[in-house]
């Protein structure tokens, strides 16, 4: 029988594995929020689109999601870019909540559209990796696919961080985030950069969907819970900080896992929100201070 330490350690490890996926989703949302101050209510729908795209490709070609996830990423980059250019740019001058409203309408269209196209029924895929478990010691077991998705998410997170800190695009994005009115004066094409940022953020959600497909299942409203969690991560991470959101994702995963262990699974989501409220009231600039994207 496992002792309390092993049990807790297992829960923490599970939490980190799940948290990596959360982190990817949250980083995408943080990028969008940081550069454009847009709370994208269609973020979950984008994750869902990435998942369906991966499913379709898998059914047609049999290629594992862990190899074909760039497809989902590319698709969602295009979708995100087009969404920004076509729908969000025209209303940029409007009050915050009209923008939120538009993303809500978009989410409705995408989710109901998915239901019309794919049906409301659940879909699932089965890959051989799913039954492989890696054992550490006698009491800890890690399900292989989660480890793979953790690795991929970690690599992508680093790539994203590098892009934001070391490329011209990243510098331009941060400039816009700091001062949207001065940025164009330095020759930055604000619209294109913002659209690209929106595209990259959406691509992150799409890729997360691809990585989620083997270990979870697919239905039109699958993105809803992840959308809410990404709001939490953006706040915990602070002011659109990508690295903050990534760490917040890991924290969220661990907190949920430990809550499930010590209190009950049904409270995990509530604890997410309580944590959210606590951080907002005690340190609104996020756990990780006032770092910028």
């Amino acid at each position: 029988m496992a002792n309390w330490f092993d049990v807790a350690l297992q829960a923490i490890i599970n939490g980190l594995l799940t948290g990596a996926l959360y982190a990817l989703i949250g980083m995408g949302m943080a990028l969008i929020f940081g550069v454009m101050r847009i709370v994208n209510f269609a973020h979950g729908a984008f994750l869902m689109m990435g998942m369906y795209a991966t499913y379709v490709v898998f059914q047609a070609t049999g290629i594992s999601p862990y190899y074909q996830f760039p497809v989902a990423g590319l698709l969602l980059f295009v979708v995100g870019y087009a969404t920004y250019m076509g729908l969000l740019r025209p209303i940029r001058g409007q009050v915050d909540f009209m923008v939120i409203l538009l993303t809500m309408g978009l989410a409705l269209i995408l989710v109901d559209g998915a239901q019309l196209v794919f049906g409301a029924d659940y879909h699932q895929i089965n890959i051989p990796l799913l039954s492989r478990n890696i054992r550490l010691g006698s009491q800890i077991s890690i399900n292989a696919p989660w480890l793979v998705s953790f690795a991929i998410a970690a690599v992508l997170a680093c790539v994203l961080y590098w892009v934001v800190t070391h490329t011209m695009f990243g510098r331009a994005a941060r400039a816009i985030a700091q001062n949207p009115y001065a940025a164009p004066l330095t020759g930055i094409n604000v619209n294109r950069i913002q659209a690209a940022a929106f595209g990259i953020g959406s691509a992150a959600a799409g890729i997360a969907g691809a990585l989620l497909l083997p270990v979870f299942y697919l239905f039109p409203d699958v993105g809803n819970q992840f959308k809410l969690k990404s709001f939490v991560m953006v706040v915990l991470g602070g002011m659109g900080s990508i690295q903050g959101a990534a760490i917040a994702g890991l924290v969220l995963g661990v907190v949920e896992s430990l809550t499930s262990l010590y209190w009950g699974n049904e409270w995990a989501l509530a604890v997410d929100f309580v944590l959210f409220i606590l951080v907002l009231s005690l340190k609104p600039s996020g756990i990780f201070g006032s770092q910028r994207a």
């Binding site: 799940t18 239901q115 409301a120 029924d121 299942y217 896992s257």
Partner: protein
């Protein structure tokens, strides 16, 4: 300003009145039957299953000449998986479209919500899938339910356990929705009455990716029996993760649904080998011996490409039974239809024998099945059993 005022009022009135237009029912050359189900929203997948089941029954009945000389037409209302919309739906179907009978809804909460409405409007309601006990508690003479309730599930499971090893400790793992909570309530009460020790009761948020911590908690209490109330995908996730955690109770039992779905023992769409040895209550399987079952399975597969779960069968059965009642008695008014349904006594339908008791509940037999070699085998009660139950459940590490 006057002009804009008039324009506004006219525009608004037009909008308001056109929104409430439904199709004119009653006369005409079709026999309309009202259906409330969840075509969108969180229960959409099951609402679609309902719709497919209804469609197959509709085609069968119309091919045989319809009802009372007319072809039947199903008048659907989408309750969007919300009880308030279900209530609105019944109002529309009855007041506007003048249907003499309503079938539905899908979920227990929507169904529970429409019970007082059909009672007040005096229109018979035949319920296909809502299992919560509170759905039938009012005892309304207008309400009939074809499926067994969660109380029957608990009773059947406990009966089986008592006669097959008589374990003493039980844990319930249930999803945090009406379905799960209703089954938890029934099993908690029933197990207490039976003298079992309920060592753990775990609710979970459905559609979570990770249940390992939850299962760890259950493992810590070492129950002999675990009783699940889960839908298919959570059922698959739970069993997979139970193996990863080496959770080894003597019995995995369940309130059906996920653990009784046709896909559950399959590797591609279910839990595959992890489903082996699990017990479940069963209301119906494609392999059931009732006349018409296999044909329904084939038709459903042809229509949708997958095998029907019992939700679709219950919808199919409900329409067949209602049509049979109407046909036999030539009833076409709500009151006469209600009486016809009360009288129904069909020993052989694809869903087994159908006869509603004084409270409108069909005494549907609840069987216990076990997954053996990837197939569901009925193991209880003995007169229906096709195989002996394999007890205790082999430990994960000892399975090949």
């Amino acid at each position: 300003m006057k002009r804009s005022l008039i324009l506004f009022l006219v525009g608004v009135s037009v909008l308001v009145l056109t929104s409430c237009k439904g199709s004119k029912g009653g006369g005409g050359n079709t026999f309309k039957i009202g259906v409330v189900t969840s075509l969108t929203g969180s229960n959409a997948a099951f609402g679609q299953a309902h719709k497919n089941g209804y469609t197959i029954a509709l085609e069968e009945i119309n091919a045989k000449g319809g009802l009372l000389g007319k072809q039947i037409e199903l008048d659907y209302y989408d309750d969007q998986s919300r009880p308030d919309q279900a209530v609105q739906g019944v109002s529309k179907l009855v007041d506007q479209d003048r249907v003499p009978i309503v079938l539905g809804a899908y979920s227990s909460e929507s169904t529970r919500a429409i019970v007082p409405v059909v009672t007040q409007k005096q229109v018979p309601l035949v319920i296909p899938t809502a299992v919560a006990d509170n759905v039938m508690e009012s005892g309304s003479p207008w309400v009939f339910r074809i499926c067994a309730g969660s109380g029957s599930f608990a009773a059947a499971t406990l009966d089986f356990l008592k006669n097959n090893g008589d374990p003493r400790t039980l844990a319930i793992v249930y999803e945090n929705t009406n379905f799960g909570q209703a089954n938890n309530k029934s099993m908690t009460e029933a197990s207490k009455a039976a003298g079992l020790n309920l060592v753990d009761s775990e609710a979970y948020q459905a559609s979570s990716p990770d249940y390992k911590s939850l299962l760890q908690r259950v493992k810590g209490k070492t129950p002999e029996v675990i009783y699940f109330a889960s839908y298919l995908l959570d059922a698959s996730t739970l069993m997979r993760q139970a193996e990863q955690l080496s959770l080894n109770p003597k019995y995995y039992t369940s309130a059906g649904t996920g653990f009784a779905a046709a896909e559950f023992p399959t590797p591609d769409k279910g839990a595959g080998k992890y489903a082996e040895y699990t017990f479940s209550v069963s209301q119906w399987l494609p392999s059931a011996k009732w006349k018409g079952s296999a044909e329904f399975d084939q038709k459903f597969f042809k229509l949708t490409g997958s095998h029907p779960a019992y939700h679709a069968m219950e919808a199919y059965a409900v329409l067949l039974v209602a049509a049979a009642a109407i046909d036999n008695s030539k009833a076409d008014q709500p009151t006469t239809i209600r009486d016809a349904i009360k009288q129904v006594s069909l020993p052989e339908t694809p869903f087994g024998p159908v006869k509603f008791d004084a409270r409108g509940q069909n005494q549907h037999p609840v069987l216990i099945t076990q997954v053996q070699s990837g197939q569901y085998k009925v193991v209880w009660p003995p007169d229906a059993a096709e195989s002996k139950p394999i007890i205790p459940t082999p430990e994960w590490s000892k399975r090949q």
